[in-house]
């Protein structure tokens, strides 16, 4: 379909996103780290021919960072739009990545934008901007237990169409790893099997799972000539845990997969 960013669909997410876009509804994407959320949004932006304004949310992010601020220039003070305001005016996808990291008072500015009003009031300037017809709000977060103390307000959540992404199933993940790294299919299959073995450890070691992203990185390093076991150790084992015992288990696991 699209010539732009490569994305292999896991289910109906592309279709649902298209419908949400045409109905001008905002979208919430849930999924563990490195499962393709960002990639998906970029792919959809390409497909829809819209620009994308990404904001990586963090705990010091304020509403000002989203909406804009006054600056002082040579000719006195002037107003500068933030990424959200820019998307609202010009159209395009405003993508708030890891939105639960932002303070709750920050996300409240999204409310009038994400219901039928589709407006953005700017307190500082007194302006009320009506959203461009191509404006679309997309937020994402990882619903893992690390975020249980954060979460989104129900009143925020209930303004969005929800999409739940997870790590792709085995054949899809193999295809993705091959495509992204150019590695042999056989090695990709091994890597994905190893990845799925590692995902079983999630309960046990209280760590994040091995993401598709890590598998892609590992494949890229192998493709570049790094030994398979070494690549797995550096790209999979070490980023996943600091726990010596878990590392021993993972090292054994890697050795079981790769001769």
């Amino acid at each position: 379909m699209a010539t732009g960013t490569y994305y292999l669909p896991q289910g109906h997410e592309v279709d649902i996103f298209m419908r949400a876009a045409s109905k001008r509804l905002p979208v919430l994407i849930k999924g563990p780290t490195g499962c393709g959320k960002t990639r998906f949004v970029h792919h959809m932006a390409d497909t829809l021919g819209r620009s994308i304004h990404t904001v990586a949310c963090h705990d010091d992010l304020t509403a000002t960072d989203l909406v804009g601020r006054h600056l002082i220039g040579a000719g006195g003070t002037y107003w500068q739009d933030g990424p959200l305001t820019r998307a609202v005016r010009e159209g395009g996808i405003c993508y708030l990545d890891e939105v639960v990291e932002a303070r709750k008072d920050t996300t409240v500015v999204l409310h009038p934008l994400s219901d039928y009003r589709r407006v953005l009031p700017i307190e500082r300037t007194g302006e009320l901007i009506e959203a461009h017809e191509d404006f679309m709000l997309v937020i994402s977060y990882n619903p893992g237990y690390q975020n249980i103390m954060k979460g989104l307000k129900a009143s925020t959540r209930q303004r969005f169409i929800g999409l739940n992404l997870d790590y792709p199933d085995e054949p899809n993940e193999v295809a993705i790893v091959c495509q992204e790294s150019g590695i042999d299919r056989e090695i990709a299959e091994r890597l994905v099997k190893l990845g799925n073995d590692l995902r079983r450890l999630k309960d046990l070691a209280l760590e994040e799972s091995a993401s598709t992203r890590l598998l892609v990185y590992t494949a890229m390093m192998i493709r570049d000539g790094l030994g398979e076991r070494q690549a797995c150790l550096s790209c999979l084992a070490e980023p996943l845990t600091d726990d010596t015992e878990t590392l021993v288990a993972i090292r054994r696991l890697i050795e079981a997969h790769f001769e």
């Binding site: 705990d59 103390m149 079983r200 209280l206």
Partner: protein
């Protein structure tokens, strides 16, 4: 011929076990954490724990009378059942440590390829072949193990080169070919690389007798393989009031001293104090239960003479009855209690090193990092505020506060740790610890770690005897500092009765609500499902607990459960949500994992303004 080889193997295995290469030996305990992670990753059942095996005979199918000499001899075998993978306490077959360790990992891997070993030979060959095919990286280590095993056998029993060519050895080297020539597959042989059928019940008893003897001589604590199951059975035997049967004699002797006021009815309609007592204001009295308190005791309960000191008259709490889809109001009597006789105690020596480590970690953690804008002084300039004031002075409330200050204001978090102290915590773990011991260590370490932060901590424990007494033990309240006094109280925890989790959660929420905190975390340390000896079991207990959890969330409290129940995945998602719990597979790691979990739950959450 095979019989001959079989006998040789027997000799080899029985001899090699005790007097192998001790120095190069590897103990199960050393590798257990890594081993259980490995086992799980390869697809091993999450309910299976790594356990210690014992010497036992290889069992034969009933009805086969033909006996091989020495067949009743005992071997250090490996096997598995639904609860565990049983591996030798120590492996010292080979001169290289690496190989001995490798055998543990091989056995753990092998166990993931076969659910139930029914046939000692066929099942092992099949499992080995699939494993080697699925994990090509295992081929070399496996061949090394086979070679070493054969060498070992040869050196121990002077197996000649010719004898090495026997079917058994060929089979080991190439399991994928299967038994390709006449081979008496019904003569089991103990091979260290294989898993054997789990012991049958009747045999178990016999083995246990043996163990008791061995126990006495070696002085090492060896436990029955199915204590865990038995403990549960005791819990479930409701009609006879389960364990209370066993405790009856001692209770009667105590009952003579006390005027026992038995409750006739399950409901408590007269009005005690209904409001939540502020447990944090209790003042401890050394004056002991003069004349007994107003709390009514049941025969099931220890007499006040021997029990913790009850604080107040108890608190009535409601309970959710899912069958009627409504609450039973004021149905549970929760009795706050405190062990006032606990001697103040320092941190036990085995926890000092881990505690030092944690304290270092928690002190360096910037848990309290929070930046406050618009400060009169601080490390950074608050450009936003300066700009706002400059561009629109009318609108700005705080002129001259142009700084951002880090840590000017600590995060305001209150955490209540609620520990399950029910009877099931008496269950032994592999090793010489019981669940209650790891819970105790976990509480002690957790308190040490949190002591280094500005987060506020209270620790309570609970167990229950029907709705009449939900025993709610104050170990450390929010108001008191963590001292040898509180340490002593934690040291004194012991397994109690049952698990009326809903009531304990409701009370904990009331206590948490009294804290003026912006974030309230209720951490529950548990070892199993909610249950009690009345109707509070199965679905009833689950539904009431779930209700209590939902109420907690509605009150702005974040409940999170950390459990050592390997079966937890089957009901915890329903109680706490998919992300509301963590399961610790190897209970002995609870003490080290609990503080780490706390960091993960709270540290990214720094922004309160």
């Amino acid at each position: 011929m095979e019989e001959f080889v079989g006998r040789l193997w027997h000799r080899f295995v029985t001899r090699a076990t005790p007097c192998g290469y001790e120095a190069a030996g590897v103990e199960l305990d050393e590798v257990k954490p890594a081993l259980s992670a490995y086992h799980r990753a390869l697809g091993g059942a999450s309910a299976q724990q790594i356990m210690t095996a014992w010497h036992r005979p290889i069992e034969r199918k009933r009805g086969r009378a033909k006996r091989l000499p020495g067949l009743r001899r005992k071997h250090m075998l490996s096997w598995q059942d639904e609860q565990g993978l049983y591996l030798p306490p120590k492996i010292a077959y080979y001169p290289e440590k690496e190989l001995n360790e490798s055998l543990y990992f091989w056995l753990a891997a092998l166990s993931t390829q076969v659910m139930v070993v029914e046939h000692w030979l066929i099942d092992n060959l099949k499992a080995s072949a699939t494993l080697l095919q699925r994990y090509p990286g295992l081929r070399n280590p496996y061949q090394e193990l086979v070679t070493a095993t054969i060498d070992m056998a040869a050196s121990q029993i002077h197996l000649s080169d010719r004898d090495r060519g026997t079917g058994l050895i060929e089979l080991l080297s190439r399991p994928e070919y299967g038994p390709d020539r006449p081979f008496d597959i019904n003569q089991p042989v103990a091979i260290p690389l294989w898993l054997y059928p789990a012991p049958r019940r009747e045999v178990c008893a016999e083995v246990i007798d043996d163990l008791a003897q061995q126990d006495a001589t070696s002085g090492k604590l060896i436990r029955l393989p199915n204590v865990r199951r038995q403990a549960f059975r005791v819990d479930d035997r409701r009609k006879t009031d389960g364990l209370l049967v066993f405790k009856m004699d001692s209770l009667f002797s105590r009952a003579e001293q006390v005027n026992v006021d038995r409750l006739q009815d399950d409901t408590m309609d007269d009005d005690c104090h209904s409001a939540a007592h502020d447990l944090d204001i209790i003042s401890l009295s050394r004056q002991r239960r003069a004349g007994g308190s107003n709390v009514r005791f049941d025969l099931d309960l220890p007499s006040p003479q021997y029990d913790d000191l009850p604080v107040g008259d108890g608190i009535k709490l409601r309970e959710w009855d899912y069958k009627k889809q409504r609450f039973r109001p004021a149905y549970c009597l929760l009795q706050p209690m405190v062990e006032d006789r606990a001697e103040p105690s320092a941190l036990p020596s085995h926890l000092r090193e881990p505690a030092r480590h944690l304290i270092r970690q928690f002190s360096s953690l910037d848990l309290n990092k929070t930046s406050k804008n618009r400060q009169p002084q601080g490390e950074e300039i608050d450009l936003d505020h300066w700009l706002a004031t400059t561009t629109d002075p009318e609108q700005s409330p705080d002129p001259d506060r142009y700084y951002k200050s880090r840590g000017a204001r600590a995060r305001n978090l209150a955490c209540l740790l609620l520990a399950d102290l029910s009877l099931s915590t008496d269950t032994p773990l592999d090793g010489d610890q019981r669940i209650i011991d790891v819970i105790r260590d976990a509480l002690l370490l957790f308190a040490e770690a949190l002591n280094r932060t500005r987060d506020r901590l209270a620790i309570y424990g609970f167990s229950s005897v029907r709705n009449k007494q939900v025993r709610y033990h104050v170990l450390k309240n929010f108001a008191e500092p963590h001292t040898d006094q509180t340490r002593g109280r934690i040291m004194a925890i012991r397994p109690g009765f049952y698990t009326r989790l809903g009531a304990a959660i409701r009370q904990s929420c009331d206590v948490l609500k009294l804290q003026s905190a912006e974030q309230r975390l209720l951490l529950i340390v548990s070892d199993g499902k909610p249950n009690d000896i009345d109707h509070y079991e199965g679905r009833y207990g689950i539904e009431d607990t779930r209700h209590a959890v939902v109420e907690a969330k509605q009150r702005g409290i974040v409940p999170f459960c950390i459990t050592v129940d390997t079966d937890g995945n089957s009901y915890l998602p329903y109680l706490f949500g998919n992300n509301g719990y963590a399961l610790v597979q190897d209970a002995t790691r609870l003490p080290s994992l609990l503080p780490q979990l706390y960091i993960r739950l709270t540290s990214a959450n720094r922004h309160f303004q």
